[in-house]
Symmetry: C2
Amino acid sequence: MIRIGVDVGGTGIQVGVVSADNRIIREESIHTRTDLPFEEQLREMADCIISAVNNAGLTENDIESIGFGIPGIASAKTGEVIKCTNMGWHHLPFREVFNRYLNKPVYIDNDANVAALAESVAGVSAGTSSSVFITIGTGIGSGIIINGKVWSGAHHIGGELGHVIFDLDGVPCTCGNHGCLERYCSATALIRMAREAVAEQPDSLILTSVDNDPSRIEAKTVFDTARAGDPVAVKVYQYYISCLAQAIASVVNLLDPEVIVLGGGVSKAGDFLLDPLSREYRKYILFNDQTIPPLKLAVLGSEAGIIGAAMLS
Amino acid sequence: MIRIGVDVGGTGIQVGVVSADNRIIREESIHTRTDLPFEEQLREMADCIISAVNNAGLTENDIESIGFGIPGIASAKTGEVIKCTNMGWHHLPFREVFNRYLNKPVYIDNDANVAALAESVAGVSAGTSSSVFITIGTGIGSGIIINGKVWSGAHHIGGELGHVIFDLDGVPCTCGNHGCLERYCSATALIRMAREAVAEQPDSLILTSVDNDPSRIEAKTVFDTARAGDPVAVKVYQYYISCLAQAIASVVNLLDPEVIVLGGGVSKAGDFLLDPLSREYRKYILFNDQTIPPLKLAVLGSEAGIIGAAMLS
């Protein structure tokens, strides 16, 4: 028997055929078509699944279950998508409609939760019973695993670490509030800090490395120029690390999981991110003379979305 | 059979004999004697338990278990007190030593966790399987219940909502960091805000109601004068409510429990606190067009410490 994991994104949908030992044995993808009616979108996904299964030399009968990771919130119990803005889905009976095209057990959860589950079963946090997975990209997402299960809240609205208040009356957030954590800890935040710094000090390597075009600054630009020793970049990098250290310590002060896993684009900075963070975040933990959760980099990368979705049950 | 709940505090220790239906049928107390050796302190507690049990017309044989709520952290698994600064206890084998004086099953947990458990089984959150209990007093404490069990973390250092970063580089905290949540949401914070306000506007009722002595301002002073319509007090009160609303919404964005329970001294303000908070905190929740956890006032009061400790298992 195999399980299907589907990673639903705003631009593309990845379908993976996952073996009993959590390996992807076949992967296919389709473009996201938000222009189509909901039913049609689901039919296209079902077709892609059948195709992937057949191309893996298997049939529909071999499918044990199908899991979907979506960039939104869903009720695992009812199979309803509650809200998924990128896809234009609001209160839709996902499982019921999908089962018209492919009648198998269907599970749905938020994509960060799904990635957290994947890492906690088959990735860097395998063998632990609690973990918090933090994706650091355009925004900040998180998935919480407690006693081996995803905890997304009683109303499926939890795991939104990015919108915890981190700086009272601070930087305005896209959500309408001020001082949300992702305004200080995401790639977007790092880029904002870099742009502010080069506006003051335009002789920085940050700016020259992007042909003096601030709009081309990426997270990687800051890491690369800090690594090269540019003083402006080093200062931005250190401040960003300090913000992220305080954010992670806050998660530990509240939840104290066995391990904290960092994923998303910014985590590609690797040890250049992890080493200073691991040194610095202890000082913001209240009981910092005790054993504290280690920080680890996610290992499954983009596969986490498929593997975790396939693990949903 | 009865269970014993012991509420260990820095000044006094309350012992309660708790019936099978979670009522305190006998309560006795002793003064905290941190001047005594650890063994002696535990022997005194055992003596007080025996006395309370006997005065309830029962014997040692009727005791099913003994639970302790302590103002610190402990390992439920090993029965070790990890750190309890008020009592001067650090890495002590509590269960092992206590069993020399009274050989019954012994459970220990943090006092906020214990109160959270009490409310979730026999109090305002009875019947729910997840809740976050927030005590608003000198500091901010919290207890997290997930799937009906206390979650205090993998290393017993969780539940410290008061030390989540809430205002980056903000007000210095007693813990050594800056901008901790309890610096904005505790009774201490409300008093600080009131003192700052009356320093600017000394004609406030806040100040005249304490004979112009700012050191006598309490949380209750602010609530009473705001209720009376004093403009300075109203402004302080509204800002404090806004802080607390953002703090509670942050807990919901991350954890989304079935219910949020508010306890501690500040919660005695009752509906004057709860009504504006309930109105305001929704706007800081990311998915605020969905069902969100209701806010409720704790109902067990000081009994929560005893009842919750007796419930530990």
